[in-house]
Symmetry: C2
Subunit: 364 residues, 2 copies
């Protein structure tokens, strides 16, 4: 195996909103050789953690393409995914005399991607947007699907838009500076694609989990590529989440309740999803859809990825209350993504008593 994997590409096919995802080592420094949107100015939106690591490299590549390139470093953390922070992006865009062709570059993880994407969706009713995700979670998750949003005091991602980027550049070299815990959080969303869609990919992850945690470039490249492909396949069939696409939220209904119940930021999103998947698997078992061996096998891999597999003890009624606020609930009925059979997911309601039993069973 050569240490530097070849450049991979995934084409996201959404008609006139189609775009490529490029995956490779050291892509950021060569960004000006890629098919960037035109525009005589650009703004790099990043955060104060990522800025000292990569903003300069990105900016140097971009000035070769756009006339003026400014950088805005937002404070780091989910708690800053607010209107106030969004407003700072608009202020800078207007101060620098931006127009409808000014390009926004999101350099960072999911928070930076979500807020920058939403800024691009709204600024002058839509300007071009390029994602340069620097976390594994953002590379496998935010790269595909066009979901952008900010939080509202009453709920996560309540205010947002479906807005596609023109290009996504996953530079695998950025994962070398990623903290261990965040790498594991990203693996949660990689593992997710196994039970809901592709058990062959699940087999591959089981074989390669140590290489992934050791950040072996070829393993990372495949994990990112295959995750994006699967997500693209699902999103391509249901861009605006009217049905099928909801299966991508496997583990998220329980996960969001964990995040909200503990207060955002205590657990990483991927950690909550990892544990949420264990709970969703337990629910699938309680509903008689999968057997306990399958649940144990999935749980073991989630654990090997370095993720928590026992939920915090918030109490079943608190979990249920929080889950009823979920955007997927309708007229107060919670809808869970369950594994109908290994490799296939579906959306289901479940009796409160059954869900409560799952919560009791899965919480430490």
């Amino acid at each position: 195996m050569s240490p530097i994997p070849p450049r991979e590409q995934v084409r996201i096919d959404l008609g006139e909103r189609s775009y490529p995802i490029l995956i490779g080592q050291g892509l950021m420094a060569q960004l000006d050789e890629l098919p960037l949107p035109r525009g005589s100015s650009a703004l790099i939106v990043t955060n104060t953690t990522v800025e000292p690591l990569y903003a300069r490299t990105l900016r140097e590549a971009l000035v070769r393409r756009h006339g003026r390139v400014n950088t805005l470093a937002l404070p780091d953390g989910e708690e800053h995914k607010t209107w106030e922070t969004l407003q700072r992006i608009f202020d800078v865009l207007l101060e620098q005399g931006s127009d409808r062709k000014t390009v926004l570059y999101a350099l960072g993880g999911g928070v930076v991607g979500d807020i920058t994407g939403f800024a691009a969706a709204c600024f002058m009713r839509g300007v071009p947007f390029v994602q340069v995700p620097t976390t594994l979670l953002a590379q496998v998750d935010s790269s595909v699907g066009g979901k952008t949003a900010i939080n509202h005091p009453r709920g996560k991602n309540m205010i947002g838009a479906f807005y596609q980027p023109q290009l996504v550049v996953c530079d695998l070299a950025t994962l070398n500076t990623l903290p261990e815990r965040e790498l594991s959080a990203g693996l949660a969303e990689v593992i997710k694609y196994g039970p809901i869609h592709d058990m062959a990919f699940f087999d591959w992850i089981e074989t390669n989990i140590d290489a992934l945690r050791a950040r072996e470039p070829r393993a990372l490249a495949h994990a990112v590529k295959r995750s994006c492909e699967i997500k693209a396949e699902v999103v391509g069939q249901d861009e605006r989440e009217s049905g099928l696409r909801a299966i991508l939220n496997f583990g998220h209904t329980f996960g969001h309740a964990i995040e909200a119940g503990l207060g955002y930021g205590r657990w990483l999103h991927g950690e909550a999803v990892g544990c949420g998947m264990v709970m969703a698997l337990a629910l699938s078992e309680e509903l008689g859809l999968v057997d306990s061996a399958f649940v144990r096998r999935c749980t073991a891999l989630i654990e090997r990825a370095g993720l928590p597999t026992r939920g915090p003890r918030l109490g079943a009624s608190r979990y249920l209350e929080l889950m009823r606020l979920d955007k997927k609930s309708e007229a107060g009925e919670i809808r869970f993504i369950v594994v109908a059979a290994p490799g296939r997911a579906e959306l289901r309601a479940a009796p409160d008593a059954l869900v409560a039993r799952v919560i009791e069973r899965c919480c430490a």
Copy 2:
């Protein structure tokens, strides 16, 4: 002529985002008989001027269709088209336990339509939206095109989205309570369609201008219908304003400068557009595209509609400065919509000196 005109319909054809505009007398009380979106709850967003006139009628019709219907009355006026006001809509939606199928009804003029539409575009990344415009301007202009927005301290409509309603209901009876000045402001956008697209319609307006100002229902019905048809034709070819659609901004580049220069609210938007059309016509003449007789003919009709035809004396350099901030400008170059020939418009740059001469000529 019968006093009550037949119900008119214009179909806006935008693929999966298509919707009908219904035009007629007294439609609001029969709204539940129309093809409304489903949804077990709804929110009527209106303003404190319109609420006492129509909110009750609308609510009574809607409770027959949706389980829960709340009303939120915003303060009246362009100066409230802000994030803070938008936030109030989100707060109420979340307090009432809304979901992704909750329907937003915009009951009012352009400000209510723009802000409610933007709220619908962003809330949970998009909920269904129905427009019930109660001003002539909103009926002929906001009904078609899906432009939604709020203002930013540095510029009008800077933050927004293209988002289509599922239905627009123009109840002509609401125009009976419209102040004279606002009726004239609406006529500016009706007259606009003549020089840029349809001189036969311009002839019709010349013949019927007194009937329109007297609010004769049949005349109003035709003016609203034909305006929506023309706008639909243009928007259908260019939904996201990459080219052709810009011609609908005829008079708006000068008009926005007037509004911004005097401070928003001093002149009504339609008044500024009326006067802006005179300036854009003068520019077309200076560029040798149309003759002075045509400019005089258009100016006479704008005056008969009760609109100002002389701009405020802000000084040419201030006008130019304000126009460079316009969303249509690119890399600092102002692009004007001019009349290339009677009934046909195009986008053009023009030398500052020429524009300055037009401004001097057209300002009182």
